[in-house]
Subunit: 255 residues, 2 copies
DNA sequence: TCCCTCTTTTAGGCATCCCTAATTATAAAC
DNA sequence: GTTTATAATTAGGGATGCCTAAAAGAGGGA
């Protein structure tokens, strides 16, 4: 049975939240999907009937094996499209998520394969997120928040959150993109900014922004790889590879 | 106001039928859109309310200026996508229409522009159909049915219908694609096949198939132009240019 | 334990777009 | 001018997926 775009969206988001180690609640889903809670309840019931999630009223939500597979497929579509739009058509980083959200539901298997092949079967999207494989494997990120990074030492940005286009535009303007090398110079007290050095410039960075940046130790061994795109126009390269699994924390700091 | 995918589909088809000089009836629309006639009536009313078409019950249908603009925009999306899928991703001719039908509704203006630029602002899709310009101009075809072509003389295929994937696959296998040079050797009587010569081989071609092929005189002056695609994989080139307008006839031959 | 708050669900609707069955218009044939 | 076939419309429903308002559950604090 063919899933509707709405169902795909729900599954994708549920999958992402599980991945991030967050509890999947009605409200959280409503927020992420820009929908009201009653709509979520309705869809959760439908997905339960289809055995794509496990869920009981007032309880929390969990993907079944079938649901996980479907969710990863959508996520694969989404991330392949993002990378393709970036590499082949030169779209700016902060426009990718929105475009991919619309296109991901219209992608056939055949086209997915063609795109993956054109990109050289990449493993990371332009934000640094791992792209699930066709058979439903996804690399577990082993990075941590920039806010948790030791001061005075170089780190490499592995991924940035793609949820907020404006934030991305801002980070991009500072050069805070995947693969950039950053050093946290110091952190001002009382929720003050992080002073981060990137490309020989130091910028104050609000904690909220910093929380959307994930880094790894510069010293970690990397196997670099190019993405092998056919057509390209002004796009940075990607890095990365798997090491281990470790869900990242989730801290909604006030001011 | 944002048009729904269904509305876009209706407008696109109405526009195409007007273009082909055919009367736009409820039934014809139902057939083309794979929908039942009552559904068409309902949608026609809605489009009338939105001033996208002019229509009165039991009468026939006509695009308004706003409707024509919307229809051409969808058609532009459709044909740009077809060409892009062919040129950049190497999809086979007979898969293009179906893929584009799904993608055309998810294409932003920005992405449309990026694709058009990547293709070098092309004027023809892979089936040889003219691509409307961004400001709503569309070239009037000045070609005619292969069935009307003089015997023993060379013609160049300008466009083939894209409606039937199976037919396209067949035509492709015979080399009957846009830009191929064909000669009608003879036509057997009583609805018998056309014997067409293409690339030194002569094939019998049923009238039904032949009706989906449109040609021009070889002697007509052409300004050839490449399509300027960034990435390409095994695709034929395009030809063509405008000369005049002349709606093509429409003859549903019995055997 | 009871209350209060916050979350979630139920109830009831609306818009979109499709369907089948039944009715009405149109137009061609006698 | 009827009759009759065909085309188109109305009537009535169903599935999706969203909404608001109201009710119900869950959990913490006194």
């Amino acid at each position: 049975m063919r899933l509707s775009p709405a169902m795909e969206d729900y599954l994708k988001v549920i999958g992402q939240m599980e991945q991030e180690g967050r509890r999947v609640t009605t409200q959280a889903l409503a927020q992420r999907l820009k929908v009201k809670p009653p709509s979520v309840t309705g869809m959760l019931k439908k997905l339960t009937r289809l055995h794509l999630i496990r869920y009981s009223p007032y309880g929390s939500v969990e993907l079944t094996e079938a649901g996980r597979k479907a969710a990863l497929e959508v996520l694969r579509h989404h991330r392949l499209i993002e990378l393709y739009l970036r590499e082949a058509l030169g779209l700016p980083l902060h426009r990718l998520d929105e475009e991919a959200d619309r296109l991901e539901h219209a992608l056939s298997e055949e086209l997915e394969d063609a795109i993956a092949a054109a990109l050289g079967h990449p493993t990371r999207d332009p934000h640094g997120h791992p792209i699930p494989t066709k058979d439903g494997q996804i690399e577990q990120p082993d990075d941590f928040h920039l806010t948790d990074a030791e001061h005075g030492v170089g780190f490499v940005i592995v991924r940035v959150s793609d949820r907020d286009g404006e934030l991305l535009k801002y980070l991009e303007s500072l050069g805070l993109v995947p693969e950039a090398v950053v050093t946290v110079v110091r952190r001002d007290p009382f929720g003050g900014p992080l002073w981060v050095q990137v490309a020989d410039k130091t910028h104050p960075l609000g904690l909220e922004a910093a929380q959307h940046i994930f880094v790894r130790h510069l010293s970690d061994l990397e196997d670099r790889k190019e993405s092998g795109v056919t057509a390209s126009s002004a796009a940075p390269k990607r890095v990365r590879r798997k090491v281990a699994s470790l869900p990242s924390a989730d801290l909604p700091d006030p001011l």
